[in-house]
Amino acid sequence: MKLQLTKDKTIEIKFPSGGAKSVSDITGVELFSPGEGECPAIRLVHRKKSWHVAASGFVKPPDGELPMRWEDTPHQPAWEFPRDFASPHAALAINSPMATFAQSTADAVVQDMTTGLAAQHDERQPGGDKSSSDGKRRFGIKREQSTQLAPKPAAKQEPSARKPAFPSSGMPVSENGRRFVVRPMSEENFHLCASLPEFQTLWLSRLLPEGKRPTASSIQVAESALMASILLQPEFIAADGSALAIFARSDATYLAGYKKGEPVLWRRCPGVGGILAMRDAVRKTLGLDEELVDSVLNESLIDPRPALEPFVRPILGQLSLSLDYLTGKHGLKFDHAFLMGVDAGASHWSRYAEESLHLRLVSPNPFDGLALDKGVDAGDASRHLIALGAAIAGAEVSA
């Protein structure tokens, strides 16, 4: 709580219950998931020294759409959850075309903070220098950026006039109309950096009304939540937190590396789509209806190799590069990698990986390692991967 004493002086009172630390009951929700009408939600409760899935399902999305401009933010819906998900805290994982999540150097993060929306706005102007913000030392993705400037700061400041300070780990900072948060990676000089336009963050922060369960204690970018989703996997814990993972989403595929429970690698497979692209390729190549795609991928009556292999090969190529990087740079050797988010055809992925990389792909149920309460269905777990990751990260679970 902030109390304004004078015009320039405010004091901040921190209440112990306000933080996300020592959260033992949290609901993770994925918002605006592509291809999903409703929001996947999962409630994690820490009980008897273990984490339980108390509820899993889908909640009705908030009224209205995610604002794409400052002008849209006054329309603020109030979002309420069903009773099953009425935990004290909620971790929201947001799919926004204006969000960024990347593995960056400190310089690249500061550069991002310096340019922010203003530079991205300039890039879209005729004659704008697009290469300037590509970030040569930058990995991962940079999704479509907002063309909207923050109302006042961006208009007043020249991008090059002031160099913003590198933010402290885990402390969100606002620069040039965006909110940034960084976490150091296991590799020196590298950081995970997530950002979201300020107006979207504010809109999300007020989405769950005060005084009703739950209220937002964490707002994460969906990719960030995805990366945390395997932390409670028994195989991951058995490998002492060192692993290589493929995360397949509906629109993109990502590779993540972990070393002793700390992040060392995060990158998007360039030129490769997600699950939807894979299914589309299978459907078109084999001439199938949408309803038959799952059957073809899960059963062995029809070999989907001609359709699947062209999609999987580039991913395995990137996996090979990542494997070499982790082996050479960090001395990590793997005989298997995690494949997460693939509902159908995971066995084919594994076979192709064994053929080309001598690497086994394991595709565990995302709820493995968690106790399931009565009535919780683990069959649809892949669709809750991001919600699960958001809850795990939001609760700051330690295994």
Binding site: R183, E210, V221
Partner: protein
């Protein structure tokens, strides 16, 4: 392994809202306002009590001042009364010390023989009293001694000794208020005066009078 390494929370600490129906940001100012109001009421009560106590104290002080002067007056009057009482007591002493010698003196004329001519009857003045002893600012009211002794001196002329002896014998009975038995003949001698050709004798007898007692 800690998930905090993967928790890239874009929500600021001050934006975290409480899910509790009891909202601290409302309850805190309300509580503070109530506390302030309580303090104000308490202060008001205290202030009123102080004002009342001050008024009461002022009243008591005024009363005390008035009573002090009255008390001083009373003390003064009491002292005066004591003084007057003492004076009265002293006067009582004198009253009891009054000599009633009128009756014996009237009777004395009857017992004086024909051959005696009294020339003088005097009572010696009492011993002077020291009413202002050294160190005393106010003189004593007296008497300083409880007993005062005086002498009655009878002087006269006679023709011979016998009438004088007769007078002295007469004084031995019935004149206790005037003289005691203790007496002294100061002189008895030939006088120059004559009567019928005969030389007269002068005499002077000193009687001790009864003690004059100053007592209640």
């Amino acid at each position: 392994m800690k998930a905090s390494s993967f928790h890239l929370n874009l929500l600021r600490q001050n934006e975290v809202l409480s899910s509790s129906p009891v909202r601290l940001r409302i309850m805190l100012p309300v509580g503070a306002t109530l506390a302030c109001a309580g303090l104000l009421v308490w202060w008001g009560v205290l202030f009123t009590q102080i004002i009342l106590a001050k008024t009461q104290a002022q009243g008591i002080e005024d009363d005390l001042t008035a009573k002090n002067s009255a008390h001083a007056e009373a003390i003064q009057k009491r002292d005066l009364a004591r003084e007057l009482k003492l004076q009265l007591e002293q006067l009582e002493y004198y009253k009891s010390g009054v000599r009633s010698i009128g009756e014996p003196l009237a009777k004395f004329a009857e017992v004086v023989p024909l051959r005696v001519q009294l020339k003088e009857m005097s009572i010696t003045p009492p011993k002077p009293q020291v009413l202002m002893p050294p160190g005393l600012k106010v003189p004593l009211f007296g008497p300083t001694e409880n007993v005062e002794t005086q002498k009655l001196v009878i002087a006269g002329l006679t023709t011979k000794e016998t009438p004088v002896v007769s007078l002295m014998e007469s004084l031995e009975n019935g004149f206790e208020k005037l003289v005691t038995s203790e007496h002294k003949i100061n002189s008895f001698k030939q006088d120059n005066a004559e009567i019928d050709g005969r030389k007269l004798l002068s005499f002077e007898v000193e009687y001790t009078m009864p003690e004059r007692r100053f007592a209640k």
